[in-house]
């Protein structure tokens, strides 16, 4: 019920009350007024007695508008019911029938849905004749294709998901599949669309009646009243505006209800407003980060991270999802967007970024050359020609054959590995002192991964740029880096060399992480180590060590006070340097 207290929730309740009032009480209260003719007051303008004037027979226009609401809304709902019912049946058929029949039906829906609903409704009105019910039928039928298409699209999107495939493997039949798995999962968007559709039907009905093809006198709905009003618009504009306003208000009310339904079902959370600015890198040789914090409202996913990189040094930043490693990288690059807030000091030389997914990180609409050259044009003030020449050179530097051709290509014409090479070349267009690579090989195959890691090493050797490699994979980090920072719950828990990582880390978390991943030398007869429990969420603030609840070595001190980072380890009980053994691996099953 909390949702009702939002402005939209309030508007939805008001809309519903408004519609119910008009439909239920409107005819009861005003019916006498609406039929009483007053020959002394024909075609009058607004007065105290008749708020929006009278019509050609001296009847009160406002009363007639009120009375007409039941017929108008009722017919709109009838039309919607026809549209939704027909749409569900026709749209659901392809899921139940076989492949070929389904394709035929969806093809036909595709053809019909291209025509505007109003045009179809007009044609149907010709066939069905004028009158309230036939107009409702015309509008309802005209919206069937759109609803069928919607049902079908939603059903197809659900049908493409793995749980439907799993049910098919279990031998679940088509009809049961439709009713048990597909319809329950598309019900909510359908209800939203039906509510919005009711608004649309109301407007379409008003349009049809307004044209004289809907409700016929002596019955009257808002559209017909609008038509009468418009004929006398120079005598009494209010008589045209009142039914128009009623149509607009009712249409709006259905829309508000639909929006509200969408919000309730979709669970669209309102983002917490916050302001803040990302730190910008300052010129300097090495990267230095001091007490870096990143906060989103109450949650603080990065809780005070400090480290520095020497020129040419290659450092890995390792952690599981939720450890804050990627946010640390983004903060270092100055790419945290509001509502995120960054605190702390970051000083670095020129930085270059390489992101995880090379498919989405390059602009699909621009040529590779444009995207490379603009860096040199904007920052290096090179001419267009010189910038493109440098782009070709840099692409050659990252071992892209036929670079002169590749600069003219679009990203989608390149393979994943080529795109990641182009991203690295883009970073080299300036003269970066630090290259931040955020999971640069996670989306790539293992053979391509090796090539990219080799390339990054070569680039850093040649240019003297430091590398900060963010990864969840200790082995990948070991391949490229000389030093490793291990992150857990927003802090660095261990800072150690790769040799030390191999020989045996001191922090229980690093040791557990190492033991839980099978490598090519793992003993297959022993179970893998597991870490019980879960990482605390960024909003949780534990008084002691964040790893203590999951740590086999934790005692009361660990739970009470946070350990400092000493000798590269943030732990009250660091393990003296022995390698991770099989026995330790078996400690948790």
């Amino acid at each position: 019920m909390r949702r009702l207290r939002t402005p939209l929730g309030f508007a939805a309740v008001a809309s519903l009350a408004f519609l119910l009032f008009m439909v239920v009480l409107g005819p009861i209260i005003w019916v006498g007024e609406a039929v009483r003719t007053d020959t002394m007051a024909l075609n009058q303008g607004p007065s105290a007695e008749h708020l929006v004037g009278t019509d050609g027979l001296g009847r009160d226009v406002l009363a007639r508008v009120m009375v007409a609401s039941r017929l108008t809304v009722g017919l709109a709902l009838l039309a919607t019911a026809i549209a939704v019912g027909g749409g569900l049946v026709i749209g659901g058929l392809p899921a139940v029938l076989g492949r070929r029949a389904g394709r035929l039906i969806s093809g036909f829906i595709g053809l019909v849905v291209a025509f505007p609903g109003l045009l179809i409704a007009l044609v149907l009105a010709v066939v069905l004749g004028s009158g309230g019910t036939s107009a409702a039928l015309a509008i309802g039928l005209a919206s069937v294709p759109a609803f069928a298409r919607l049902t079908q699209t939603l059903a197809a999107s659900v049908a493409g998901r793995d749980f439907v495939a799993a049910a098919r493997v279990l031998g679940v039949g088509r009809v049961r599949m439709l009713f048990r798995h597909i319809l329950p999962n598309i019900g909510e968007p359908l209800i939203v669309q039906a509510t919005l559709g009711a608004g649309g039907a109301l407007l379409a009905f008003a349009a049809l009646s307004f044209l004289g093809l809907g409700v016929q006198a002596p019955d009257y709905d808002w559209g017909l009243l609008l038509n009468e009003g418009l004929n006398r618009v120079y005598l009494n504009p209010a008589a045209a505006l009142a039914p128009g306003a009623a149509v607009a208000l009712a249409g709006l009310a259905f829309n508000v209800l639909g929006e509200f339904a969408a919000q309730v079902f979709g669970g669209r959370a309102t983002a917490a407003p916050a302001a803040g600015r990302s730190a910008r890198p300052a010129p300097g040789d090495a990267l230095t980060v001091e007490d870096l914090r990143v906060a989103y409202g109450d949650a603080e996913p990065v809780k005070g991270v400090s480290f520095s990189l020497e020129p040419g040094e290659r450092v890995g930043l390792v952690g599981e999802s939720g450890s804050g490693k990627s946010l640390t990288a983004l903060a270092v690059a100055g790419l945290i967007e509001p509502p995120g807030v960054v605190h702390g000091t970051i000083s670095s030389g020129e930085t270059a970024m390489v992101f995880q997914d090379p498919m989405t990180s390059l602009n699909p609409a621009l040529r590779v050359g444009t995207q490379l050259a603009e860096v040199a044009r904007v920052h290096g003030r090179l001419s267009r020609k010189a910038a493109w020449e440098r782009a070709v050179t840099r692409l050659t530097d990252v071992h892209i054959a036929a670079a002169a051709r590749v600069v003219r290509q679009y990203p989608h014409e390149l393979s994943g590995g080529m795109r990641q090479r182009a991203m690295i070349a883009m970073g080299l267009m300036g003269s970066p002192r630090v290259i931040i690579a955020d999971e640069p090989t996670t989306a790539l195959d293992v053979t391509v991964q090796k090539q990219i890691l080799d390339l990054l090493r070569e680039v850093s050797d040649r240019s003297g740029a430091a590398i900060l490699l963010i990864s969840h994979d200790l082995a990948v980090v070991g391949q490229l880096c000389s030093r490793v920072l291990v992150m857990y719950a927003g802090v660095i828990v261990e800072d150690l060399t790769v040799e030390r990582l191999r020989a045996g880390p001191a922090h229980p978390y690093t040791r557990a992480l190492l033991a839980s991943v099978p490598d090519m030398a793992a003993d297959r007869s022993q179970p893998l180590a597991t870490i019980p429990g879960r990482m605390p969420s960024p909003a949780e603030r534990l008084p002691g060590c964040a790893f203590a609840p999951r740590c086999p070595l934790a005692d009361s001190r660990c739970h009470a006070s946070p350990p400092p980072l000493e000798n590269g380890v943030r732990c009250w009980h660091p393990v003296a340097g022995e390698s991770v053994t099989v026995a330790e691996k078996g400690s948790e099953g």
Binding site: G110, L111, A114, F115, P116, G117, L118, L119, V123, A125, V126, G199, L203, A206, A207, F210, L211, G212, L213, L226, G229, L230, V233, P237, A240, L241, G244, V247, A248, G251, L252, N255, P273, A274, A333, L335, E337, P338, P339, A352, M353, F355, T360, S361, L362, N363, P364, A365, L366, T370, Q371, E374, V375, V378, H379, H412, E413, L414, S415, M423
Partner: protein, 323 residues
């Protein structure tokens, strides 16, 4: 990964053309069938109960309604190829003549309205996306979504009535269509505004939402990581990626605009096709209804085809490869 060169484009074009022809066939058949599924005798319905049986028989023969249905269909289709759309049951004038007289007014009105939509909606939507990104300027966002939401919901014919009341009746600033048929540019202002406001608001909303998506994409993060000036980020990196979405919706909007013009023409007593269509429906003048519906439907199909071709040209990556 590698994409075959010219073939997919030709295949794509072929598929779209095939679909256009199929839709056209459906349209022709539907307009033909319309007259035949009307309950009762359409000729009697058109001429009224007072018409003599001889007159009805003569008119029925004249229209070929006494022939076998296949022959009628054949005559109808061949008639379309020669531009022969039959004659009005009421006035006896050739339908093609009526259409030729009225089409220019409707077409010009729709074009003006469409231009207004495009010129206002895309920049406004884009600017709003840039300004309200990441929950910034919540006040502005609220005002924009409120106003555009209202405009998108209020139908064109109500807006038309309101515009007439305010600008023509109360303020007497602008004219409503002239009975004498004299049409200056000032006559276009109100109808075009009524027709364009809703679609413009809807498109601006969609452009903003698409813009927010593009602005938070990985490749825009790359662009920001390159420390490019805001102008380059928005115009070079974001705008081209918005166009496909805007164009797709734009196509749908033109279809809606064409249909909406029927209503707006009626409000303004505009001497266009829409007015003719409604008059013909009321008078049960079926040949005119058939002809005008064919023109409207054909126009919608042509617009769809044009949008598909433009999309294929603009975004060969995703569009061509689907289905």
């Amino acid at each position: 990964m590698a994409i075959q060169t010219s073939h997919p484009w030709a295949a794509y074009l072929g598929r779209r053309l095939m679909r256009f022809l199929l839709s056209l066939a459906l349209l022709v058949t539907a307009t033909f069938g319309m007259v035949h599924v009307i309950p009762g005798d359409p000729v009697r319905a058109a001429l009224g109960v007072t018409a003599s049986p001889e007159l009805i028989a003569a008119r029925t023969a004249e229209l070929g309604l006494d022939l076998p249905i296949w022959e009628q269909y054949g005559r109808y289709v061949t008639g379309l190829f020669t531009g022969e759309l039959g004659q009005s049951m009421v006035s006896g004038l050739p339908v093609a003549q009526t259409i030729a007289d009225r089409l220019p007014y409707t077409a010009l009105l729709a074009l003006v309205a469409f231009a207004v939509v495009m010129v206002t909606a895309v920049p406004v939507g884009m600017a709003l996306a840039a300004w309200t990104r990441g929950g910034r300027r919540r006040g502005l966002e609220l005002v924009f979504t409120g106003v555009s939401g209202l405009l998108a919901v209020v139908p064109e014919f109500l807006l038309a009535v309101a515009l007439i009341v305010v600008f023509a009746v109360t303020l007497e600033l602008l004219p409503v269509a002239d009975v004498t048929g004299a049409m200056g540019p000032e006559h276009y202002v109100l109808p075009a505004l009524a027709l364009a406001a809703g679609p413009a608001a809807a498109l601006a909303r969609i452009v903003r939402v698409e813009g927010l998506g593009v602005l938070s994409s990985d490749y825009l993060r790359t662009a920001r990581a390159k420390r490019l000036p805001a102008r380059l980020i928005h115009l070079r990196h974001a705008l081209p990626n918005l166009l496909t979405g805007a164009l797709t919706i734009g196509g749908l909007l033109i279809s809606g605009l064409i249909a909406g013009s029927v209503l707006v023409e009626n409000v303004f007593a505009w001497p266009g096709l829409g007015d003719a269509l409604v008059e013909a429906i009321k008078a049960k003048d079926y040949p005119v209804v058939q002809g005008v519906v064919l023109i409207y439907g054909g126009a919608v199909l042509l617009v769809n085809l044009a949008v598909d071709v433009a999309l294929g040209k603009l975004d060969p990556r995703s569009t061509i490869r689907e289905d």
